[in-house]
């Protein structure tokens, strides 16, 4: 299997606005890919197309070799696409464990016992054991983000889509988040991480993709991509002559 998740020739427009203009992205098992780009580049739209909450006008999405373009988000989740959202919105009056269990039970398939085991594993992977029985609404920001990850992990994903989860953290907290993501990766879950806070992202991924105006303009080693003149121009505008 060459890739776990791939977007092939994806195009998407909203009315007259072309948001994705022929995007090819291939994520292999065990990869950790970061996606950056200025506002309006199409990153979130791409994520939505990969996750299945948006369908492309052209092109297809492949998961483990299978064409899943026509499948909705719920089905893709069951097939192995997990997603962590930018603003964690846990079920406040349920405990951390119960929140994770929701993900395990509905997304993972299998019986109740299996769901429980998956939930326990997800809680451990994301370093939430000490908080497992606390109500979700009492959690601080970093732990909420971990909970969001655990919920996604509990669905048993092969690839995890992370939607700008790096915001609002101190340096130390960001380091802990990066460590959690690394742990998930070491368990064989591929990571696709959209992020604006570039300096956090480059510590977590070994491949960086930069998008601008609906296209991929750079794809490679993080430090190199961030030095690429095209990338800097995309963010800051072309250097004045």
């Amino acid at each position: 299997m060459e890739h776990v998740l791939a977007a092939v020739g994806v195009r998407k427009r909203f009315g007259a606005l072309v948001v994705l203009d022929g995007v090819d992205l291939s994520v292999g098992g065990g990869d950790a890919v970061g996606i950056v780009g200025p506002n309006g580049a199409g990153k979130t739209t791409l994520l939505n197309v990969l996750a299945g909450s948006l369908s492309p006008d052209e092109g297809r999405v492949e998961l483990l070799g299978e064409d899943v373009t026509e499948s909705g988000a719920a089905r893709r989740c069951r097939l192995g696409v997990g997603r962590a959202h930018q603003v964690p919105r846990p079920f406040g009056n349920m405990t951390v464990f119960e929140n994770v269990l929701v993900g395990a039970a509905s997304g993972g398939g299998g019986g109740r016992r299996k769901a429980y085991e998956r939930a326990i594993e997800a809680v451990e992977l994301c370093a939430l054991e000490a908080l497992a029985n606390r109500r979700a609404e009492s959690l601080g920001l970093l732990d909420r983000k971990r909970l969001e990850l655990a919920r996604a992990v509990a669905t048993g994903p092969r690839v995890l889509l992370l939607d700008e989860i790096g915001g609002g953290l101190t340096d130390a907290e960001a380091a802990e988040l990066v460590a959690t993501v690394a742990e998930l990766r070491s368990r064989g879950i591929a990571i696709v991480w959209i992020e604006h806070i570039v300096h956090v992202l480059v510590r977590a991924v070994d491949r960086l993709v930069c998008m601008d105006q609906g296209r991929v303009i750079a794809d490679g080693e993080p430090a190199e991509v961030m030095r690429d003149a095209k990338v800097i121009d995309a963010y800051l505008g072309t250097a004045a002559a």
Partner: protein
Amino acid sequence: MSRPLLTVERLEARHGLLQAVRDVSLEIDDGETLALVGANGAGKTTLLRTIAGAHQPSGGRVVFDGEDVTWAPAYRRARMGIALVPEGRKLFPDLTVEENLRVATAARRPGRWDVDEVLEVFPLLQPLRRRHAASISGGEQQATAIGRALMANPRILLLDEVSLGLAPVVVEGLYRSLAGLSEAGVTIVLVEQDLSRAMAVASRVVCMLEGRLVLEGAAGELTREQVTEAYFGLAAGGAR
């Protein structure tokens, strides 16, 4: 004018659980054009909205023309002369272009700006007066949004990412108009992702990163390298 028109003192603002603005202090003089740059999520929009009264701060002060407006409701600030052109334009979709402009007279401020003046600055809107705001193009909407803010006869104009989603040639036109306004003495604070454009129009630049001001200087004096570093928080070599 010795005292600054707008002073922001140690401002703090949250966005849910996130601290979007951290300990920001800033002074803006009458007639200045200030560019506020930074990556997405850096807190620029929250800062502008807090100044305009659309967002409540969690600490610090906003002082406008000598008066503490930190807790004043947004409509009062508009009537005092603070006008915000919000991110995404936020025109009233069922109102026509002209109605969108005229609504802003709710700010009850006398001044040179009326519908005719606005149409002189943005002649592309002339044939569109009776069109519904939802039916015109992005560039036309942006012009309308700026015009609407001008109709309030503001003393300070806050512009949040006016070039977003617009074709370069349209952005050119908008910035020409902005330069004209700047020359006419309108005080402007401009949030912009395209640094070159911002620096071409502004006299001063500040850069935000994760809620803090990390760089400040005259537009002509800052190098592209300095700004790039501040923008991404990456020192040369990719480490932080």
